[in-house]
Point group: C2
Chain length 200, copies 2
Amino acid sequence: MNVRLMNSNEKIAAVFASTLKLIQTNGFHGTPMSKIAQESDVAIGTIYHYFPSKDDLIFALFKHCRALLNDYIFDGIKDDFSYKDSFFHVWRNFVKFYLENGHVFSFFEQFFSSPYYEKNKAEIQEPVGGQNKVVDFLQEGIDRKILKQVNVHLLVASYIGVALSTVHSIKFKDLSFSERNMEELIGIIWDGAINREKNN
Amino acid sequence: MNVRLMNSNEKIAAVFASTLKLIQTNGFHGTPMSKIAQESDVAIGTIYHYFPSKDDLIFALFKHCRALLNDYIFDGIKDDFSYKDSFFHVWRNFVKFYLENGHVFSFFEQFFSSPYYEKNKAEIQEPVGGQNKVVDFLQEGIDRKILKQVNVHLLVASYIGVALSTVHSIKFKDLSFSERNMEELIGIIWDGAINREKNN
DNA sequence: TGCAACCGAATGAACGTTCGATTGATGAAT
DNA sequence: ATTCATCAATCGAACGTTCATTCGGTTGCA
């Protein structure tokens, strides 16, 4: 393909997009560099010009996707939102992001369950997508006595775990998903998480 | 190694055990047949005598582990258990199984997030470990108006999702886990799942 | 004697990565 | 205004390695 139809940024974007697409369909190891090059119309040599190895490419792609997720989930929170409003809003965004970006979901699922992640977790720090901000947000609810007085990581596991599990079910099973389902689910989490001593 | 130190069943068991161990450490594709043979003291040719391909081996291993899980989680339920007792008991068993069998957890995580699973899901039917019985169990709670009157799959996603996410956090983060944590978590799920119109 | 279980060196395909050659933009020198 | 040197960007054939799988031969029970 003609060299000048893409500049550097476009090439990298094309490589990222092709990699996500191929990984969703063929999995991590069913996605050779040769196919990424073919699919993205970027020569293998050029990919290696930007990423020293396949591992580096995957790692960079992960950081790219995590940034997208982080930007997305806390977007649209208004000043007049109550804590409960935000609790609902962020969770809905979380699910919506993964539903709208199924290839990112596939990539994250594979990434986080691979020894890849385990071996670099010290460097990654911020585990399952955007959790640091989520941890802070849920800790705020605990401090304000709105949520149960438990270890924040238990609440995070519930909040995120239900979202991931739901998206997985929608994707792999025949769970058709409606706005009503979403409200029922976030209701389950809220009812489970709130501090009944002080609340509602 | 001397042929007669293992019979067929022992060989297959050794192959399964080695495969699980290697996959936990090196991942699905960092586990070549040659290493499985080496680690299990069973010749490559012999492995291929029992399993036509690596895929068949993985598939058989999956079914084997799923059966173990199914046997485990509904074990120990007494006749005098209330529905709530069983709800708690099964969930605790679920978490305990994965904590005691970390290699199975790793294997399942990778298996379920691989295109492997996606491509064979019709044949696998019973998705994330032991869910069919879990579905029936939660449906019973809905029918008896103990649990919220929602799509059972939403409750399954919550019930299982929190368990998986918790085990993942324990495994990959520094979430040390106590009996008290376990009780707090199952409390969160129960509070979220119960039908407040009719209950407690 | 026959047959299933067993063995592991050999095979061929697929993969990550390298590297020498080519292109095109930039700016200094003329 | 034109030439030229430089260097980053680009390319893909070729290399060496690794892997799943095969197959011809061996073992030992019935």
